[in-house]
Amino acid sequence: MTDSSELVASADPYASRRRWFIPAVALGLLAAAWAALSLGAVAVPAGEVLGVLAAKVGVDAFEDPSQQAEAVVWGIRMPRLLLAFAVGATLGLVGGVLQGLLRNNLADPHLLGIGPGAAIGAAIGSAAGGVQGAIAGGVAAGVITAFAVRLLSKRASIDPTMIILSGVALAAVLSAWVGFIVFAADRSTVPPIEFWLLGSLTGSTWRALGTAFAFLFITSIIMLSSAHLLDVMGLGEADARHLGIDVDLVLTVLLIAAGAAVGATVGAVGVIAFVGLLVPFVVRRVTGPSHRSLLFGALASGALFVAAADLVARLLIQPVEIPVGLVTAAVGGPVFLWLLTRRRDA
C-alpha cells in the first residue's frame, strides 16, 4: 500500500516514538512476568522459580524444584499470569477497535455496557456449568449486548456524549440484572457479585485459560486484521462506503468479535474496567492513529497493564486479594475524568 511512498512516510510524526515503545513494552512484560512468578504469599526463591521453568522446557540447568514450588509457580502463578496477559491484551485490543469503529476515543467495552451484559450471561452460565459455562454464557451475552450498543449508537449517531451516556445507563441497568441473578443463584457455585463487577484473577486455572484462550485468539485475529479498515472508516461512514467498505458488514463482524472477546474475559475473570479506555488512549499518543500499530500496541500494553494491576491486587494487602478491577479503576477512573474535561484528543 501507499505507506511505502515517500510522501506519506515523511508525513508520519510518530515513527520515532514507536521505536522506543516496542522495547519498553517488551521489557515491561518480562519484568511483570518475572514478578508474577516469583512473588507471592508463599516464598519461592528465584532459583526455584527458574528451576520450575527450566524443568518444563526440559533444560537441566537447575536443581529439581520442590513439589510445592512446582505447584505454586506452575499450578497457580503461571496460569494466572497468562490469563492476565490474555485478558489484558484482549481488552486493550477491543478498546482500540471500538474506539475506531465508533470514532470516539471515550469508547470502552465496559463503559458501554458490553461488560455487564456479558456478566449476565456468564453468571447464568456459571450456575449451569462452572468456569466453562461462564465463558460460554459470557460470549453469547457479550455478542447480544454489542448489538444493543450498536443500535443505541445508531440512534444517537451524531453526539458522542449521547453514546457514552446511553452506554453508561445500559451498563447500570445490566449491572443490576447481574446482581439479581447472583443473589437468586446458588452461592456455593456462582461467584459473588464482586467477582462479576470488579473482576478477580484469584481462581485462575489452566482450564479457565484454555477455554478462554480459544475465543480470545480467534476474535483477536479478526480484530487485528481489521486495522486498515478501521483507518479508512475514520473518514466517516459515507466516505468509507465510497471507498468500497461494506460498513454494515464490518460493524457486524467486529461487534460480534468484540462482544465475544469481552464475553470470554468476563466469563473467566469478571468485568475489569477501564483497560479498554485507558490503554488505547495512551498507546495512541505514542503510535499515532494508524490502527496497525495502535492495535498491536494496545494488545501488548493491555497485557502489561492487567498483569501489573493483578500484582498490586494480589500483593498489596496480603493475605486478602483485592479485586483487580478495583486497581484498574483506581488508575483508570481519574484518567477518565481527565479525558472528559479535555476538548480534543490526538
Binding site: D3, S5, S10, D231, D239, H242, L243
Partner: protein, 260 residues
C-alpha cells in the same frame, strides 16, 4: 468501457410521501463534465447519491459502466466511481497525505496495482489540488477549504472512470474554486465522466460541457450551457429575476440576478 459511463433510467426516490427525485433519466459518457444545478431542495444531492449507489431508488435503476448499483458489491462500485460529499467529518486524526492515500484503498486487492502507482497517484492528486504543502499536517487542523481540497485529492487519487462531486467549490476561495474547476475539466478530458453539483451558475457556464437543470425533483432542462441558461426558465426555476448576457471574454453565457 461502454459508451455510456453513467446511465440512470426512470429514477425515482421517495421518503414517505415526499418525492425527492421524480422519474429522472440521466446519462453521461466519458470525457464530459456535466454540471447539475438548481435551487435548494431541487434534489441535486439526492440525485448524486442515487448515481453513486448510496441510496436505493424507489423506482428505476442506475448503471455505472454497466454495473447495476442496486446489486453491485461495494468493492466493485469503489473501482467504478469516486465521490466527494459535504458529509466528511472534521476530527480525522490522520495527516493529509494519509487521508489522500486512503483513496487508493480499493486497489489493495488488485494484483496489477503497485505501491509505486499508489504513490504516484497520491503525489499527483495533491499536486493538482495544491495540497502538497499540507502533507504532514493533521487533517483536523486544516481550514474548511483546505480540508475540501484534501478530500478532493483523495477522490482524484482513487482514479475512477466516474467522478461525482457534490459542491466541491462551496468552501473554497475564488482562486482555488477556479483551479478546482479547471482540474475537474482536465479530469474529464482524460476520459472520465465527471458529474458536478454546483450552486454557482457561472462556474457551470464556464466549465461545463453539459448542464442539467433540476427543480422539485425533476430534470427541467438538459443541454449545453447556452441552451439551458435561458432567462425565462432560470427565472422561473429560481423564482428570481435572472438576466443572461454574453460573457465579455469567454465563449459562454453570463448569468446575473436582477431586481424585479
Amino acid at each position: 468501457m461502454p459508451e455510456t459511463a453513467v446511465l440512470a433510467e426512470s429514477l425515482t426516490y421517495r421518503i414517505g410521501d415526499a418525492v425527492l427525485v421524480s422519474n429522472v433519466h440521466f446519462d453521461a459518457g466519458p470525457g464530459a463534465l456535466i454540471a447539475v444545478i438548481g435551487p435548494n431542495g431541487a434534489g441535486k444531492s439526492t440525485l448524486l447519491d442515487l448515481l453513486a449507489g448510496n441510496l436505493r431508488p424507489s423506482e428505476g435503476r442506475v448503471l455505472l459502466n454497466g454495473i447495476d448499483t442496486g446489486t453491485a458489491l461495494p468493492g466493485d462500485l469503489a473501482l467504478a466511481r469516486s465521490m466527494l460529499t459535504q458529509r466528511s467529518p472534521v476530527e480525522i486524526p490522520f495527516t493529509a497525505a494519509q487521508v489522500v492515500a486512503m483513496g487508493r484503498f480499493p486497489y489493495r486487492r488488485d494484483d496489477t496495482n503497485t505501491s509505486e502507482r499508489d504513490a504516484a497517484a497520491v503525489a499527483e492528486a495533491m499536486e493538482r489540488t495544491d495540497t502538497t504543502q499540507f502533507a504532514a499536517r493533521i487533517y483536523a487542523t486544516l481550514s474548511g477549504g483546505e480540508r475540501t481540497r484534501v478530500s478532493l485529492a483523495r477522490v482524484f487519487a482513487q482514479d475512477t472512470p466516474i467522478v461525482l462531486l457534490d459542491e466541491p467549490t462551496t468552501a473554497l476561495d475564488v482562486a482555488h474554486e477556479e483551479r478546482i474547476m479547471r482540474e475537474s475539466v482536465q479530469l474529464s478530458r482524460r476520459q472520465r465522466a465527471v458529474i458536478v453539483v454546483l450552486h454557482d451558475l457561472n462556474a457551470a457556464a464556464v466549465h461545463a460541457d453539459q448542464i442539467v437543470l433540476m427543480s422539485q425533483g425533476a430534470v427541467v432542462a438538459r443541454g449545453r450551457p447556452r441552451e439551458v441558461l435561458q432567462e425565462t426558465i432560470l427565472s422561473d426555476v429560481y423564482a428570481q429575476k435572472m438576466v443572461v448576457v454574453d460573457h465579455p471574454f469567454r465563449d459562454c453565457p453570463l448569468v446575473l440576478t436582477a431586481d424585479g
